[in-house]
Structures are given as C-alpha cells and as structure tokens.
C-alpha cells in the first residue's frame, strides 16, 4: 500500500523535526549572535525575547526523538549509535545553553561565564545538528537491523560543511528574529547581520545542493528522474523567491517579512532533503516501511497525535501571541 500509517508517521516526525529546527533555530541563533552584542543590556533583551518560548521550542526535539523511538524503532536504534559523537555533544551543549537562561540572572560574578556558556552551547548545538544531518545524508552502515559502522563514520568534509550550513542558517533565523522583536541599535545591528548571514546561507545551500547528488546514486536518481525531477527543479526556484523576499524585506525595513522568508528557506531546504530521502528513512539502508513499528503501535499513538498536535499548535500559538510585539528594554529594569 502506497499510503499507509508509516508514511503518515514519517510526515509527522518530519513535521516535528522541522518545527524543532525553525523554532529552536531562532533560539539558538540568538545565542550564536551573542559575540556581536557585547553589551549586557542588549543581551538581556535578546534572552528576554526568547525566554517565554524556548522551552516549548525544545520540546519538539523530544517529540522528534521520542516519536522516532515509538514509530520507527529500528531507525532510532541505528541512527543514534551511528551519530553517537555529535548527539552526545549536542545534548551537553543544550544543557549549558538551557541552564544559562536562568543562571545568568543569579549572580553578578559569573554572569559573563554563563553568557559564554549560552553562546558556545548554541554554537555547538547548531554545528552538531548540522553534522548529524550531513552524516545521515551520507548514509549509515546497517547490518541485520543494527548499526555496524565505526565510531568516527559521521565525520567527513560533507558533514562538516552541513554543520557550518546549519550554524549559518540558525544565525540567519536568529538575526531575522531579533530584527522582528527588537528596536533601536540592536535591531539595526541584527538587520545588518541578517543580510550577511543570508548571503552566506545561499552560498552554502548552493554548495550542498551541488554536492549531494554525487554522494549517493539514490539522490542522483531521485533528483534527475521523472517525476521527482519536477520537484527538484521547483525547490531551487522557490528558494530564490524566498531569498528575494528576505533581501527585499530587509532593504525596505520590514520586520516580519525577513523572518518568515528565513523560515521559508528552511522549509524548502528541508523539503529538498525529504525528496532525497523518500522512501528511505535511513538513506540507502532502511525504508520507511522497513523501519516502522507494528501497526498497533502506529495507530495507538496516531489517535492521540491527531487530536493533540493541533491542540499543541493552538496553545503554542497563543503563548506566542501573548508575548507578541517588540521587547521593551526598560521592562526588565526599574
């Protein structure tokens, strides 16, 4: 059957990962941008802009991980040992970054240290996530439904490049977010950083797009054979439109448009990845059907997901609405 529960679940997991990437992406981007804003006052505004929502954003990562275990246990059980190094590094980085939100307010003496932890944690988390994606694209050695490769398989020029690409991409999301949520000098600086990171992001998307089809013949086939060739032609065209919207939005000093366009860039890159992967979940090794849990597991969780994910989106949207608008730098002081 072409359209079965495992495909629906693959779509849901993909959605969770995408939601994580764009939501925590701008969070992490704000942290990555810390070195450009040495003033304590600016940094307070920056963290205040994400403080009410970062926790919810990171929950999508837990859904991605937990969901993968529930519905694609074999994929979970092969991908995680294969990407052991980057995943552990990412988790440790997220710890430093997560606690820094609260800890940086707790002392005068060490707030600098926690600012650094916040920044470095964000950088390492972004970079290792990019490495993980690149390593997955490159493929994982699977034998008898288990990871059968070596400790350093994930490390390659390609995965390092995707690591940098995700780092730059999150920087762009963070810069456009600050452009949206802040005002004055802070916004002006974020505006400039958004332009630069947008240009860098396009270069990297180009490099990776040219590189990918030569990594594995399955990508080459998917990209250049009908009917998927239609989509693989459409994606770059839409990317250019998004890029223009971003650039134009910045030039005409729009606040929301650049952020939305940056989200669009991620959505399209992610779609490109999806086109390349399908029908595999671990490229070249496990298809969606092969990796799927028994139907009873898929349906049991799907019933809940069908009701709960829209509900979650509704109240998450509400929380964003409550904290809408520019951050008032004076609000935190008296």
């Amino acid at each position: 059957m072409w359209f079965d529960y495992s495909v629906i679940w693959a779509a849901i997991i993909a959605f969770a990962v995408l939601a994580y990437v764009v939501l925590d992406g701008f969070d992490l981007g704000v942290g990555i941008l810390f070195p450009f804003f040495p003033e304590r006052r600016d940094r307070d505004v920056m963290t205040n802009s994400i403080a009410p929502v970062w926790d919810g954003n990171e929950t999508w990562l837990v859904l991605g991980g937990g969901g993968l275990m529930a519905v694609f246990p074999v994929a979970y059980a092969t991908i995680l040992p294969a990407l052991y190094g980057p995943i552990i590094a990412m988790l440790l980085a997220l710890i430093f970054r997560g606690v820094a939100f609260e800890f940086r307010w707790r002392t005068h003496a060490t707030s600098r240290f926690w600012d650094r932890a916040f920044c470095l944690g964000s950088i390492v988390a972004a970079f290792t996530q990019g490495i993980a994606v690149g390593a997955l694209v490159q493929g994982i050695t699977v034998e008898d439904r288990a990871f059968a490769g070596g400790t350093w398989d994930w490390l390659s020029p390609f995965s390092l490049t995707t690591g940098v690409a995700v780092l730059v991409g999150y920087t762009l999301l963070g810069a456009t977010w600050l452009n949206l949520k802040t005002s004055g000098d802070l916004q002006a600086k974020a505006h400039k950083l958004a332009l630069w990171s947008c240009a860098a992001m396009f270069v990297l998307i180009g490099v990776i797009s040219i590189w990918t089809p030569f990594i594995h013949e399955i990508y080459f086939e998917r990209w250049f054979s009908w009917p998927t060739a239609f989509f693989s032609a459409l994606v770059p065209a839409l990317l250019l439109i998004c890029g223009y919207a971003l650039w134009h939005g910045l030039k005409t000093d729009k606040h929301l448009q650049p952020f939305l366009a940056a989200l669009g860039l991620f959505l399209l890159s992610f779609t490109g990845l999806g086109i390349s992967f399908y029908p595999y979940i671990v490229p070249g090794a496990l298809t969606i059907q092969e990796a799927s849990a028994p139907t009873e597991s898929l349906t049991f969780l799907l019933v809940g997901a069908a009701v709960l994910i829209p509900t979650i989106l509704a109240y998450t949207g509400y929380a964003y609405w409550v904290f809408r608008g520019k951050i008032d730098p004076e609000e935190g002081y008296h």
């Binding site: 275990m69 052991y84 606690v99 939100f101 800890f103 990871f147 929380a319 609000e331 008296h334």
Partner: protein
C-alpha cells in the same frame, strides 16, 4: 574491549543510571513545586492575602531554575535510550515509545507551552488566564509522571504483548499495557514521593527562616503548609509503599529477596533483617540483626508465611543484593523520620508551639533534602532489583545494549559526569542562594502594581545593582 577495565555494558548502565538519577531529582522537586504554586496562586486569588502572592513569587523563581534543569537533563534521557540501549529500543520501542510519545504530547508541551505565561505573563493575560496557565503547568507535571511511571512499570511487569520471530515486541492490548499490574502502585507511590519531597524542602526553607525570624508571616505560612503535608501524607505514603511492596512480592519475588537480604527460603516465617551485609558470592547476609517472623508479617501479613530466598533463582537470574538492601533501608528510615517530624509538628501545633519550637525547626531544616534522598534510594531499589533484566523476565540488560565500543561509552560517561557535576552543582548552589532569601519583599508597595517584569526571565540578584548578597526579592 574495555575502558579502564570496565565493559561497554557496565559503562552504559553507569551512564544511564547517572543521567537518570540527576534527571529524577529535578522532576521529583518540580512536580510537587508546580502543584504548590498552583495552590498558592489559588489561595491568593481566593483570599487576596498578599502573603500568598509573595510566596508564589518566591517559589516561582526556585521552580523556574529547577524546571530548567529538569528540561535539559530530560532531553538527554529521550536520546539515551537510542544511544546506549539501541537493541532495547529496537525491540521494545514499539511499546515503550508510544507511552513516552504520549508523555511528550500530553504533558511536555502542556508544561512548556504554559510555563512562559505562568512565569512572566500575569500582567499580560490577567489573573484568571494566569491561574489557568499555572494550573496547566501543574497538571502537565502530573500527566508526565503518570505516563513515565506506566512505561517504567511495564518494564517491571510486562503484559499485553507478543514477541515475534525477530524478538520484536508487539502490543496486543494497550489497556493492559498502560494499566499493567505494578503501575497503579508505582504511580501513586512516585507522585506522593514528589509531593513529600517538595513538602520537606518547603518545610526546611520555612524552618530556616523561622530560625532567623520567627515573626516572618510568609515563613510561618510555608512551614505550616509543609508540616500539614508531612503529617497527613507521610502515613498515606507508608501505606501505599507497603501495598507496592506486596505487589512486588507477587510479581518480582527475587527483588524482594534481595531487598530483604534473604538468600535462604524461609518456609515457616521469615525474619526481618534490620541490618546486615549481603554477600552474593557466599550467598549469605553477614552480621545480620534479625527480628524473627516479622519479615513474613510485613510482607504476607502472616508471621508463618513462606518467603522465597534468592537461592530459589539461578545465579544468572538474580539481582545483586547489596545495593537494593541498603537503598531500601535508607528509604524506609527516611520515611520513618518524615513520619516522626509530621507527628511532632501535629503535637506542637496542638500545643500552639509550631512557630516557636526551635528544636522542631532544626529537625525540619535537617530533613529538608530527605525527600530527594529517599526518592533516589527508592528508585535504585526498584531498578537494581529488576536486574539482570531491562524488561523483567523477558529481555536481559546484556542483550539490550548498543553496539558501541567501551571507549565511546566511557568517554561520553566522563563528559556527562564532568558537565553534570559542574552545571547541576552550580545550579544547586543557586537554588540554595534563592532559598536563603527571606520570603519578604523589601518594597511591598511594588506588589500593588503586580510583578515588575512581564517578559523575560524571573528576577534574580543579578538584576539588582544594589544587591548586597542578601538577595531580597523585589
């Protein structure tokens, strides 16, 4: 291959035990604190007594720090199953995974979605919606506890499954899986433990401030509330714990034998070993101090009932006895001490000396962290007692592990140990600093306008340029 003489399996177990121990501490604290905050906020809305609002603001900051540490250590957990126990995940992910999936969907998002509003949004959304948000966070923590204890209980008492030719678990009856035999006992026991943990932390903090200033109204209120919890919930918890023990005896007799330190089967009533030193090699508990027949009386409510010893089980199917034996005694001893403090507080309350009896305050202060220790001790008892299985009787720990080199697991274990002790150690120092602040506001009039900050992080000393280290809440 080994890493400094340790096998990958042992390293993976140490790593999982280490990361989950740290993780368990924070939710044990935040489950109770979230409910406490909901109660305080409701009391504020109901009685319009500012003391409750002050207490809410006071505990809110502590909650935010605890919760933050719980979140980041929890993200690690959702990946540890795959990184360290990939075979377990592959075979049993179809059952454990959906339960945790429901935890994420029904609880984690709920907590995280409303946390921002609960912490920073009182002025933005109004009192009523703010109360809803605070309640949602509290409910979220309880839903989370329900799902995760269900998943954990299934690993102790697996039912409602079938196993196919590849060794993959297939869910057959979800109702049976979720409400597996040990789940109700474990869930109630765990949630009560979380409430008691918070109660003793709150009681300890209240007692500390009463020792410094016995007229502080907020300190009196928190101390009184905590002592009511101690007096009323500890007996309930001991009763539930006993039921949980009987349930374990029915389903995991080897665990009970290890906890009790019994190697021999006692057909005519087993003694209660108060203290001793279990020796798995020699199959004997050395230096045992016993009370005859009491073991059977407690476990079977009959002094002459038979209790099976570890020798009934072949060596490779037995849990190690030393650790459950001691952790169980630590937990029970702390439970009895909690009961004593609770009863003492009732006596003092009746005599009207609740806020004056400095000895009681000192005892409560000393017992402040008791819940945290008891929770961990209980957790070790039940988890080590499940060994050598991950899924009791069905899947061995040695068959659950990822195909990783001991070097990889060992290196990451060292990284986890360094980072956790540094980060959560510092976090605990900050928590203690926050608890050291007297529960008063210097500028009470500020409160009439509501909290100052409507966006951003909870206020702390670093925002106060004139903070003298004493850290009054503003």
């Amino acid at each position: 291959m080994t890493f400094f003489g340790l096998s990958a399996e042992l390293l993976a177990r140490i790593q999982f035990g280490f990361t989950i121990s740290f993780h368990f501490i924070f939710p044990a604290m935040s489950i109770g604190t979230a409910s406490y905050l909901a109660v305080l906020n409701a009391l504020w809305l109901w009685k319009r007594d500012e003391s409750y609002l002050k207490l809410f603001e006071y505990w809110k900051t502590i909650f935010a720090v605890t919760f933050g540490m719980g979140v980041v250590s929890g993200i690690v957990m959702s990946y540890q199953f795959g990184t360290n126990w990939s075979v377990f995940s592959e075979k049993a992910g179809s059952i454990i995974g959906p339960l945790m999936g429901y935890e994420v969907l029904t609880a984690f998002f709920l907590e995280a979605g409303f946390l921002g509003i609960a912490l920073f949004g009182r002025n933005r959304v109004g009192e009523r919606m703010h109360m809803v948000a605070v309640a949602m966070v509290a409910i979220g923590t309880l839903i989370s506890a329900t799902w995760i204890t269900s998943a954990n209980s299934w690993m102790h008492t697996p039912v409602g499954y079938s196993i196919d030719a590849n060794g993959i678990f297939h869910p057959e009856d979800w109702w049976a899986i979720v409400f597996n035999p040990s789940f109700p006992y474990r869930m109630v026991h765990t949630v009560l433990a979380a409430f008691l943990t918070t109660a003793f932390v709150v009681g300890g903090v209240g007692a500390w401030h009463l020792l410094r200033d016995r007229t502080n109204r907020q300190a009196k209120i928190m101390f009184s509330m905590a002592m009511w919890m101690a007096a009323l919930m500890t007996p309930v918890q001991i009763f539930v714990g006993d039921m949980h023990g009987l349930n374990t005896l029915e389903h995991q007799p080897a665990k009970i034998a290890a906890m009790e330190g019994h190697y021999e089967t006692h057909p005519n009533g087993a003694p209660l070993i108060l203290f001793g030193l279990p020796d798995d090699e020699a199959e004997v508990t050395r230096y045992a101090i016993e009370i005859p027949k009491l073991g059977s009386l407690i476990l079977k409510h009959d002094p002459n009932a038979e209790i099976k010893g570890l020798k009934e089980f072949s060596r490779e199917d037995r849990p190690p006895a030393l650790m459950p034996f001691f952790t169980f005694r630590i937990m029970v001893a702390l439970g009895m001490a909690m009961l004593a403090v609770g009863m003492w507080s009732l006596w003092c309350r009746w005599r009207g000396t609740l806020y004056k009896n400095r000895l009681l305050h000192r005892a409560a202060l000393l017992m402040g962290p008791s819940g945290l220790v008891a929770v961990l001790a209980g957790w070790y008892t039940t988890e080590v007692g499940r060994q050598p299985y991950t899924i009791y009787g069905l899947m061995r720990t040695s068959d659950s592990i990822s195909p990783l080199s001991a070097q990889s697991v060992g290196t990451s274990l060292i990284a986890f140990i360094l980072v956790y002790f540094a980060v959560f150690g510092i976090g605990s120092v900050y928590l203690i600093k926050l608890m050291r602040r007297p529960p008063v506001m210097i500028e009470d009039h500020e409160l009439d306008k509501g909290p100052i900050r409507t966006a951003g992080i909870t206020p702390g000393p670093a925002q106060q340029e004139t903070d003298g280290g004493d850290g009054h809440v503003v």
